[in-house]
């Protein structure tokens, strides 16, 4: 196990990058996903067509290709420099938003019709009803799906290595080849992912239980 101790700073750094990118991806993706879901539900034909294209692009192509395009194709085209890590934040947020939009829209529709009517009937505007009535319920329903999205997002951050970002996977990959302890390196890598995902999904479970509306069983 000495190779781990020796490379601890490297590993910690890679781990941190993976954690950062997943957290930014999942939260920024949620915020953008909410905007996209509302746009799709209320924005009219043109906006919802644009949103559909956006979603199809990010769901329909591998994240590794999206990253590659964003890091190596876009900058020279527009004569800009993009830090690979920033590109990672962006792509993972945009990608996750495309998935989360679908979950959020579904959850909003599940609570939508009667609750919107009830909201309007007491004098709330459509927007206020969404904020105070629809979203608080939809986000609760969303938590299990969100937990799933978190798991798959975390694992897809391995694609970051293609953009030259030192994440957990690429760190262990290079440690493995440098120390010739390839198997051990991958096992250690898997364990770290497992710990991180287990801790986070446990947190999701706790939040889900805590936020559950008393008397209602939501089946995800």
């Amino acid at each position: 196990m000495s190779f781990i101790v020796e490379n601890l700073p490297l590993i910690a750094n890679g781990f941190l990058v993976t954690i950062e990118v997943t957290l930014v991806g999942i939260f920024a993706g949620l915020a953008l996903g909410i905007v996209l879901a509302i746009g799709d539900l209320y924005g009219g034909k043109i906006i919802s067509t644009i949103i559909r294209f956006y979603v199809e692009f990010f769901r329909g192509s591998p994240i590794i290709a999206q990253l590659f395009i964003f890091v190596y194709v876009v900058p020279p085209l527009f004569h800009v420099l993009i830090d690979p890590l920033i590109a990672g934040f962006l792509i993972f947020a945009l990608n996750s938003a495309a998935y989360q939009k679908g979950y959020i829209k579904g959850a909003m529709q599940a609570v939508f019709e009667d609750q919107m009517q009830a909201g309007l009937s007491i004098g709330l505007s459509k927007a206020s009803t969404i904020v105070f009535v629809i979203l608080p319920q939809a986000l609760r329903i969303l938590i299990p799906a969100w937990s799933n999205e978190f798991c798959s997002l975390t694992k897809s951050t391995a694609a970051l290595s293609q953009a030259g970002v030192r994440d957990l996977t690429s760190t262990f990959s290079s440690i493995g080849s440098q120390t010739f302890m390839i198997l051990e390196a991958w096992v250690a890598c898997a364990i770290l992912y497992l710990i991180w995902i287990t801790v986070m999904t446990k947190i999701f479970d706790i939040v889900y239980e805590k936020k559950k509306i008393p008397g209602i069983e939501i089946s995800a």
């Binding site: 009517q117 009830a118 009937s121 007491i122 004098g123 009535v133 008397g215 209602i216």
Partner: protein, 250 residues
Amino acid sequence: MTNIVMECRNLWKTYGNIIAVKDVSLQINEGDIKLIFGPSGSGKSTFLRCLAMLTPPDKGDVFLRNECLTKPGVDLNKARAKIGFVFQHIWLFRHLTALGNVELALRRVLKMSKDKARDRAMLALKEVKMEEWANHYPAQLSGGQQQRIGIARALAREPDIILLDEPTSALDPELTGEVIDTLRDLAKMGTTMLIVSHEMPFAREVADEMIFYDEGAIIETNLPELFFTSPESERAKKFMARLIKRTKRE
């Protein structure tokens, strides 16, 4: 001088080739309690929803205290704040407690302070005898209790009128009593109400006027005692005969 609270003139609403509201005009004065009777599917609910501007009518005008709500550019949210609406299927906000349900409009529409909203909401809950249940969530309450919260929610912001769409028809028969009692209390307080309901003893007791509604139109308006004993229109006669038969069976 009578004080007209709500009025509609030549209201129309169609869904495809179904006419739910056909050239309906109606006036409701301060303190009036009018009951709408009529077969299911006749458009009563749609009519009520048009009055509350929850469903915009195709044609015709709705007035709330001289303000025309069907004119373009009217702030409908503001208008709806002055109209209480009680739904057949109750439709409480599921993520809020009983108190939260009643408070929401006070806080977010009338912009009351937290304390003031709480006091007012508790008062409304007291009026429907639900103050002890203030911290319960809808799913923890019986249907009758939920509907009383629904009434408190409509009542709390002291609306000009309360429209009630079959407030007891989704409830088990043993639960309708408590809701009817609540409505009776409101009637005693002089609340202006337009109620779609088939509860005959209640209608007889509190209604100032009975409205028979069928195929999207008001067929007959009559005093309750006359309406129940000798309705004028053929259709109302037939409907009453059927309703009495059904009520006896129950």
